[in-house]
Amino acid sequence: MEELTSLLQASCPAPRPERERIVLGHGAGGKLTAQLLEELFLPAFRNPALEQRGDQAVVGWPGGGRLALSTDSFVVTPIFFPGGDIGSLAVHGTVNDLAMGGARPLWLTAAFILEEGLAQEELRRVVGSMAEAARAAGVEIVTGDTKVVNRGKGDGVFITTAGVGWVPAGVELGPERVRPGDQILLSGTVGDHGLAILSQREGLGFEEAIVSDSAALGPLVEAMLEAGGGGVRCLRDPTRGGVATALCELAERAGVGMRVEQEAIPVREAVASACELLGIDPLFAANEGKLVAVVAAEAAERVLAAMRRQRLGAEGRRIGEVVEGRAGLVTLGTGLGGTRVLDRPWHEPLPRIC
């Protein structure tokens, strides 16, 4: 290998991508994002809560009990899309990150970066939609900030939300609790959000409009925890990078393998058609109102039944199971009987979907 490396250095006319600057791939949730996290942010800010590397940090609280904290920025373009807008997305994204830790969201903060020239009417619509989403999710937006940048230095509106939630006693979720033999559940169809944004952006007119699944997952999580108790091991919302990326990350963090079946993963027909047309794999396309759950085998049936009674889990499925074997290796059974590996993407084909 050493010989190979030196050979490469000697003979290769450096056909290496320019990585001295930030490229769109660094924000895509794939391997480049992970690299940025591991090489820059984690070493700079290192502490135990951060190193949990969940969608939220769960920290002890001097008064007893535990708090969950999460923050997320939203730069989606276009800011209005079928099924939502940047405002409702900014609420759903952060409350869902809290919910994946089993937390009940309590408060949000909201920071706006507005571009000079943005129509006030558009901002009013975004804020109205945020307020409605927050009410529906049972969370209050309690503080915020507004900055305006010169025309051309932003893109309409960017929103950052941060959330605080309370984790009830007895709720313990995390990849370290995942065991071989556990079942993998998925709450519904995949790829709706990513393809809704993309078809809107590219002006693709499909017979059946593709609508984002953006929604708050709190009630679904509560129903699942109530039905499954300690049998619910870990939850993830498969946003950027889709279900495939969420499973890879989870398998890696848990130190286990996973086997899922392509045929068990539901994809809406319009989404599947759009994916074929655009050359995108729906397993890698973003969702904003879905979750993946790893559940102990003995609790799986109960949890699945509870999911299916909820509106947001009505199309819930068992898609596979946790297996022993190489940590982080996720294999997919193809419909025809072949097997392939699902690997985290380097890039994501759809920048700025959230």
């Binding site: 290769c12 450096a14 991508p17 320019e18 068990a264 499925r317 199971e321 294999t331 193809t334 392939r340």
Partner: protein, 389 residues
């Protein structure tokens, strides 16, 4: 999904696989020409399902992969110019030249845009009369008609600020090149369905006759590929060497005459250098003289750029079916989609990238389904997964 699920039917696939097993008495090496076919084969695991004696090797039909390093460097030199809006299909943005890729150039301030149709360049040119709109016209015969239409319409509308960097390649000369090689292993071809939808398959008949190889024009869905493989195996076993059309739902012998005529008006054949393979005579298109004003190579004077490939890369051998991705010492280690060393790792349709994306560099993915620690997913506590067929 209508017109798609039907071509992925597991029951029909099993029937075809059985028929292939029955037809075959000896080992055969069959090349699928197109990158899209390679991608589909690896994605659906068809190569794992075929009888052991049928070996599929992966052909040169990935236009992104075979675009030469020189051409990439020319593209980058043009894209760097401040007056240029450089338009390309998305795949090309990740392809490394000698000094980085188009994504990197864009991060440095170059105006590089992804378009879904070459004709999008016309609107851009009208909106920005003060700037130069350049389209990277790559691809096989499949993309040539749309690219030709861009040039013809730009000429007709007098849009002097539209030009194209032409890097078109042609399939039949590449197939002949493979068959002429002393190291050739290919005994039959699954022919390029999309290319033939434009060009028809008349021009493949002399190749089949001259080199005594069956050529079965194939589609891209699992059943298309299995049906074509079956027909190829039957010809091989019977000692036949004909062009057969297993994609008749899409194309006929003459292809699309209107598209062919358009291509003929705008382009003429020329020698072309293929990344990883080298120069092949009369294997490319260039603009005809009367469209010279829209030739980006002339307009921006980049004709003199020359480059050298990394020596470790075996993509030439892979593109001609002599070796497989795993045979390369750099595969999955020094060479990955993020740091591709050569042609076949750069595009999703390249054989190395397809093997990498579907995990063929990882231990459990080789060959048959991964061993599972517990029950297999099909034998869960309450039967098969909900929704499984």
């Amino acid at each position: 999904m209508k017109y798609l699920d039907e071509y992925r039917d597991p029951r029909l696939a099993a029937t075809l696989l059985e028929a292939i097993g029955r037809a075959q008495t000896r080992p055969w090496v069959i090349m699928e020409v197109c990158g899209g076919q390679t991608h589909s084969i690896v994605k659906h695991g068809l190569d794992q399902l075929l009888p052991a004696g049928i070996e599929l090797v992966h052909g040169p039909g990935c236009p992104v992969c075979v675009t030469s390093l020189e051409m990439m460097d020319k593209a980058h030199a043009i894209a760097r110019r401040p007056e240029v809006i450089f338009c390309s299909f998305g795949d090309m943005l990740r392809v490394p030249g000698s000094g980085g890729d188009l994504f990197g150039l864009r991060a440095q301030g170059a105006d590089v845009r992804i378009v879904y149709s070459p004709l999008d360049c016309l609107a851009l040119a009208r909106q920005h009369p003060e700037r130069e709109v350049v389209f990277f016209a790559i691809g096989f015969e499949t993309t040539a008609p749309a690219n030709a239409m861009l040039v013809e319409r730009a000429q007709r509308e007098g849009l002097g600020n539209v030009s194209v960097l032409v890097s078109h390649v042609l399939v039949p000369p590449a197939m002949a090149n493979i068959l002429q090689s002393p190291a050739n292993r290919v005994q039959a071809f699954l022919g390029p369905g999309h290319v033939c939808a434009v060009m028809g398959y008349r021009e493949y008949e002399p190749i089949a006759a001259r080199f005594r190889v069956p050529i079965v024009i194939a589609g891209f869905e699992p059943l298309d590929l299995l049906e074509a493989t079956l027909r190829a195996v039957r010809q091989l076993e019977a000692g036949q060497a004909q062009v057969d059309n297993a994609y008749a739902r899409i194309l006929g012998r003459e292809g699309n005459p209107a598209a062919r005529a358009l291509v003929q008006r705008v382009f003429e054949t020329c020698d072309r250098k293929w990344r990883g393979v080298g120069e092949i005579a009369q294997s490319g298109y260039r603009l005809r003289g009367e469209y010279r004003a829209h030739d980006a190579e002339r307009k921006f004077e980049v004709a003199a750029i020359a480059t050298r490939e990394p020596e470790v890369c075996i993509s030439g051998q892979i593109l001609t079916g002599i070796q497989k991705p795993q045979d390369c010492p750099a595969f999955g280690g020094a060479c990955t989609p993020l740091h591709p060393l050569g042609a076949t790792m750069v595009s999703a349709e390249g054989a190395c990238a397809a093997y990498y994306a579907y995990g063929r560099h990882l231990p459990a993915a080789a060959g048959r389904p991964a061993e599972s620690g517990g029950r297999s997913a099909d034998e869960g506590p309450w039967g098969p997964p909900v929704g499984a067929r």
